[in-house]
């Protein structure tokens, strides 16, 4: 079972062991999906926790990202007399890049850390071992529900983020800076494409990010050294590793999907 803490060796082999352990752990999680069906309520509870509880931060951040993006674009585009295109640029940049990436980073900070801390504390207080003693599969009961919840929650959160960004852009652009309302929407609808921007950009990317972030969070939780210091260390590592993974994966996905 790959839920044992990875002993730290030197930096390189340590990092490689992390990556390899993570990959093996993904297989363990996926293999446990059929067994976790009997814990559907647990999955639902996790969905509530990582998804519904993250709505506030996602909505507020989405609104502000849209607003600040519009403000910046307006000033740059006014040099060229192209302010009417700013709504379109806000939508495109949010759908293709900012939406999935910022949502994933926020998700890693909001949900990933708490998943790691919770599982890590379970490990530190021997609850995981207790489950095994009671013949409850900790992967199927603790790991997979959280992974599935993250997988479902991320695309939905990303959609909410993008919608709020567009509204934020509309708020600043139309009501404050005086871009024409019809121009704002028609320029946007003329350029944004359902398949390349919404499906490939918003949904596919956020699905991949959701999988990566929750995988790292759950893995770090299960491999936490069973000390209070270890929990703190694992939580930090979740944020660092997910951030790097999100941005690197974003580049790869963009290169493939564009």
């Amino acid at each position: 079972m790959s839920t044992r803490p990875v002993p730290t060796r030197n930096a390189l082999t340590g990092a490689l062991a992390q990556v390899g352990g993570c990959g093996l752990f993904l297989l363990t999680l996926l293999a446990a999906i059929p067994r976790s069906f009997r814990y559907v309520r647990e999955t639902l509870r996790q969905l509530w926790f990582v998804g519904a509880m993250s709505l506030t931060i996602i909505m507020v951040c989405g609104l502000f990202v849209g607003m600040v993006l519009m403000l910046q674009l307006y000033h740059v585009l006014s040099i060229f007399g192209g302010t009417s295109a700013s709504g379109m640029v806000v939508a495109l940049s949010v759908y293709r890049e900012l939406g999935p990436v910022v949502t994933a980073l926020l998700f890693a900070g909001r949900a990933g850390t708490s998943i790691t801390a919770e599982i890590g504390l379970m490990r530190a207080t021997d609850q995981i071992d207790a489950m095994e003693m009671m013949a409850v599969d900790p992967i199927a009961y603790v790991g997979t529900p959280r992974f599935l919840a993250g997988l479902i929650a991320m695309p939905l959160l990303c959609c909410v983020f993008c919608a709020m960004s567009v509204l934020g852009g509309h708020l600043v652009g139309v009501t404050w800076l005086g871009i024409d309302n019809g121009t704002f929407w028609s320029n946007m609808t003329a350029v944004v494409d359902l398949r390349t921007d919404i499906v490939n950009g918003v949904l596919l990317k956020s699905l991949a990010f959701g999988a990566v972030v929750t995988l790292i969070a759950v893995y770090q939780g299960f491999t936490t050294p069973p000390t209070s210091e270890g929990v703190a260390y694992a939580t930090t590592r979740t944020v660092v590793a997910s951030s790097i993974a999100i941005l690197a994966l974003d580049f790869v996905l963009t290169a493939f999907l564009m």
């Binding site: 309520r41 639902l44 509530w48 909410v160 919608a163 003329a190 919404i198």
Partner: protein, 301 residues
């Protein structure tokens, strides 16, 4: 974590509903799907000699008001004109048969759309009917060329059916650029290399085998998509009964026009490079050069 069961079930339900509502909102209100209000519409056929950058789902407008969209753009093998199908709202079924379909550009750099200018005929065009009168998209180079009298410039060249063409100037044309006929892509540029002896650019065009009935006196020209777009090779069909075949020679090419050259000519009377081109045609450019410009764009080149 200690919430009673129902509160998180309701909260999760709300979250899922909100997420999907946001997705539906993004997909329907902010994408081009918002434009495809496919109500009852009927199809009208048009044929354009050149569609420029017209794209599928581009708007069809009457008096500037959107009445439908471009359904499909095809180029039949062997044909010289692009077949454009317009899906027009059933509410606007009184379009006179002699109306003119024209490809316009929104602004200088905007997207292109099909505008229908009403004729006077009592007969109206029916479902599946054809609007016979069309006006193709104006290419900026064509217009500038006519204006400066440089439209008829031609160089000699040789080629094969991956046709090679020789241009005295290809501008920023690069391998992979499109080869278009009547505005529809029919192939791509395979390579652009400088000829070490003739000191001009040798361009290899790979043309789709379906288009094997291009007259062998057709000309190839390097055009720009819009004012600042990428460059492509446009093939303008000639009138010869014989078709271009693998190993055949195209005899007419028109090199890329440099915007700086043209503007320079427009502003400054008689830069040395104009002599050649002015010899071939009228000199409308001379009229405008009566007022010398304070700037000297020739220095930019």
């Amino acid at each position: 974590m200690s919430q009673p069961r129902n509160s998180y079930a309701v909260g999760t339900g709300l979250f899922i509903v909100l997420g999907f509502a946001a997705l539906v909102y993004l997909a329907t209100q902010t994408t081009s799907v918002a434009n495809t209000h496919q109500g009852a519409s009927y199809i009208v056929d048009t044929h354009f000699a050149n569609i420029g950058q017209l794209k599928e789902r581009a708007p069809v407008k009457i008096a500037g008001v959107r009445v439908g969209q471009v359904q499909s753009i095809t180029l039949a093998p062997g044909a010289e004109v692009a077949d454009v199908k317009l899906a027009i709202d059933k509410n606007y079924d009184k379009i006179p048969l002699d109306s003119v379909a024209t490809i316009f550009t929104s602004g200088l750099l905007g997207d292109q759309y099909v505008g229908i200018v009403y004729g006077t005929s009592k007969k109206t065009v029916a479902e599946g009917g054809t609007l016979a009168l069309t006006k193709p998209a104006e290419q900026l180079e064509d217009m500038l060329g006519k204006f400066f009298g440089a439209g008829g410039m031609a160089d000699n060249l040789g080629g094969t059916y991956t046709v090679t063409a020789t241009f005295s100037n290809v501008g920023t044309l690069s391998a992979g650029a499109a080869v278009k006929m009547a505005g529809v892509p029919i192939g791509s540029v395979q390579s652009v290399v400088a000829d070490p002896v003739k000191l001009d650019a040798k361009v290899t065009l790979a043309i789709d085998n379906r288009y094997n009935q291009i007259p062998d006196d057709s000309s190839a020209a390097v055009f720009t998509s819009g004012l600042i777009g990428s460059q492509f090779v446009a093939i303008q069909p000639g009138g010869s009964p014989d078709a271009l075949k693998n190993g055949d020679e195209m005899v007419l090419t028109q090199s890329a026009m440099q915007l700086e050259d043209l503007i320079g000519k427009f502003l400054v009377n008689g830069s040395s490079s104009t002599d050649k081109k002015d010899a071939g045609n009228g000199k409308p450019g001379d009229k405008s050069s009566d007022t010398p410009s304070p700037t000297t764009p020739a220095g930019k080149q």
